[in-house]
């Protein structure tokens, strides 16, 4: 494992250099919040943030992605034959991703990549991505990564981990992919023991700060139908607007819709993020809707994250504890409280 020290200016420079070999995405301040944008000379990366408003999920799994294309031109001998759209899978790096968001990729992986079916787009985007994480020195009060198998300096899914030591960054290569990335970074010097100690202390300190202790331990022992029939769902769902904020901001939501779009004789098949909060999500052609009521959709979201996923994959809950849905739910429906209700039911 390589540990290198960069001053913050050096690191920005190094990232500029790395842009020759990788598409480098960095957090950039964009109005009131931070967003991942491709590294460029005009706008400097800003690593002083709590978390990006949107998770980095769209860099591996875009909100709207062309799957196939086809011609509808009768004169085209290949008319109506659906073909794969060529894609660019050159290496990319997400620099500054928080460990919770990286953990999100691990959570969704069995959905996109399992022994029965492999989603070619997600897999190829994911495999071409280097995850360069930034540890959280100051976790938010709404963070609960530690309750769901992560932590503010969790190395689990990261290829590289950055420790913010104040004036300097200590950058650690964690995987082969990460070491390769780091080896191409110009500048910096080997970290001495003092720096490593300081970094470790930061991680220990941060771990203590993640206060929210969200109980999920008993979820796996519950019976699906018992939780499903629990009396609290109407109350939990009352305020819900059925907007897509929680699901679109979530690093672990994966649902999508498939739509055909035609312009003249050119057709595209596109997949778009979808949300279980929308009534249309489950509306049958016949007009029947198994989840036509708001509370049913709210129940679906929480049951999926905190029970169905738990039973299906037996690897914890489908939540990385990033706290976005807690902070940005327009009506303050709080997954931490729902987890408690479910866990203690």
């Amino acid at each position: 494992m390589t540990n290198k020290i960069f001053t913050k200016e050096e690191w920005t420079k190094a990232l500029q250099g790395l842009s020759d070999s990788y598409k480098v995405f960095v957090p950039v301040k964009d109005g009131d919040f931070h967003t991942f944008k491709p590294m460029n000379a005009t706008k400097a990366p800003d690593f002083d943030f709590q978390n990006t408003r949107l998770s980095a999920r769209s860099l591996v799994y875009p909100q709207a992605e062309r799957m196939f294309e086809y011609s509808l031109d009768e004169n085209d001998p290949e008319a109506n034959i659906i073909k794969e759209t060529p894609k660019d899978y050159s290496p990319q790096a997400i620099v500054g991703i928080r460990p919770c968001d990286a953990h999100g990729f691990k959570i969704v992986k069995p959905n996109f990549d399992n022994k029965e079916y492999r989603d070619p787009w997600w897999i190829q985007h994911f495999e071409s991505t280097v995850l360069v994480g930034l540890g959280c020195n100051q976790p938010c009060s709404t963070c609960f990564c530690a309750s769901v198998g992560g932590g503010p300096f969790n190395k689990d899914v990261l290829d590289v981990l950055i420790y913010d030591l104040g004036a300097n960054f200590m950058v650690s290569g964690l995987t082969e992919k990460g070491e390769a990335f780091l080896s191409k970074a110009q500048g910096g010097k080997a970290a001495d023991d003092a720096a490593v100690k300081q970094a470790e202390a930061l991680a220990t300190e941060a771990a203590k700060k993640v206060k929210a202790d969200v109980p999920t331990d008993k979820l796996k022992d519950k019976v699906i139908n018992d939780l499903f029939a629990a009396p609290f769902w109407q109350d939990v769902g009352f305020a819900c607007l059925n907007c897509g904020t929680c699901t679109y901001l979530c690093p672990t939501c994966w649902c999508f819709d498939i739509q055909d779009e035609v312009l003249g004789k050119q057709g595209d098949r596109i997949r778009n993020w979808d949300s279980c909060m929308f009534p249309l999500f489950t509306l049958h052609g016949s007009g029947h809707n198994p989840r036509d009521q708001k509370f049913q959709r709210v129940r679906q979201r929480f049951m999926h994250k905190l029970k169905y996923y738990v039973d299906k994959y037996q690897g914890g809950v489908q939540c990385s504890g990033c706290g976005r849905c807690v902070r940005y739910c327009p009506v303050n429906i709080d997954i931490r409280q729902v987890a408690e209700l479910m866990n203690n039911y």
């Binding site: 709207a64 992605e65 062309r66 779009e261 596109i270």
Partner: protein
Amino acid sequence: MLKGLLEHIGIEPGRLNFSWISSAEATKFVDVAQQVAASVKALGPARYLIKKRAEVA
């Protein structure tokens, strides 16, 4: 109000036109159609709110 809104977001005045024409008012229809065609031609091809191939990844 639709005209007001569309012009407010940048659709040029003259692209959206309204008229009351009775089925008996043939000449008025011709006049209005010519006026509309002329005003739209003068503006040139529309630039905004035109769906092209979806801009997606």
